[in-house]
């Protein structure tokens, strides 16, 4: 009888200018959640190098020449990795803060100020990340 005018996902996000606070919070939370789970998998993969180190010669390990230590240090020596880590921090901090906001909302706290608490999460995330940059970039060889 009727034909629908295409209102797929793309079109929805094409309306991003019309999103309200709660929608943005949802989009960001989803995005950061996916990044975090993605990272968790990567993280464990990288850490798995420890398996070889455990069975390696104790001397190599003592000399920090084992695969794990070398991998980590090589990675941490790269600026990109450090920058990615800052990104990860931002993602994690936002997810935590907004997650806390969501937990409170689940408990029925702050429903009326949900937009403000979202903005607060954003600002706080920004502040924490900026404050952490020196630490995160410390000791990186350019």
């Amino acid at each position: 009888m009727s034909q629908s005018y295409d209102r797929g996902l793309i079109e929805d996000f094409g309306r991003w200018r019309e999103f309200s606070a709660g929608m943005w919070a949802w989009v960001f939370h989803k995005f950061t959640g996916w990044v975090l789970i993605g990272y968790l998998f990567t993280h464990i993969a990288v850490l798995s190098t420890a398996l070889t180190s455990a069975s390696a010669d104790p001397a190599t390990v003592a000399a920090n020449q084992d695969l794990y230590t070398q991998t980590i240090q090589a990675l941490e020596g790269l600026l990109v990795v450090r920058l990615l880590e800052v990104g990860l921090l931002a993602v994690a901090v936002f997810h935590i803060l907004n997650g806390t906001r969501l937990l409170l909302i689940d408990l029925g706290i702050g429903l009326g100020t949900q937009d403000r608490s979202f903005y607060a999460s954003l600002i706080l995330t920004g502040a924490i990340v900026v404050a952490s940059i020196p630490t995160f970039l410390a000791g990186v060889s350019l």
Binding site: G33, A50, S53, A54, I72
Partner: protein, 126 residues
């Protein structure tokens, strides 16, 4: 009615666990970040230090719990998001199995790594 009721069990419990793990993760994740970036700097990480920490039982069990909760929380979050996007039927079952397998692999691998640090040989074949 009965049908609804059973599906409720799943929906409601998963929802609750998502919150419980979230609450736990707030603390642990903050601790984790703090420890590995602020207390010890990232570029100073070595196998020996990690192994040293892992050998304390309290730290070991915390990290295992961290792994389990984070995996559950993350994977369940993804699954939930897919259901919200309208995933149904066979596709949904496939996704559920895939996610289940992935988390199992993640857990096993995480376990093995932690054990390697801690010097535990719980199950030799791993």
């Amino acid at each position: 009615m009965a049908e609804r009721y059973s599906s409720f069990q799943a929906g409601g419990r998963l929802w609750l666990w998502q919150r419980i793990t979230a609450a736990f993760l707030i603390v642990v994740l903050a601790f984790h970040f703090f420890l590995l970036h602020f207390v010890h700097h990232a570029d100073e990480v070595t196998f020996a230090m990690s192994a040293g920490r892992m050998e304390t039982w309290s730290y070991y069990s915390l990290m295992i719990l961290f792994l389990v909760t984070a995996t559950f929380h993350g994977v369940n979050g993804v699954y939930n998001a897919l259901i919200n996007a309208g995933l149904t039927g066979v596709k949904r079952r496939a996704v559920r199995i895939a996610l289940g397998v992935a988390s199992l692999l993640l857990l096993v691998q995480g376990f093995r790594t932690a054990n390697a640090w801690a010097g535990i040989d719980l199950i030799p074949i791993l």
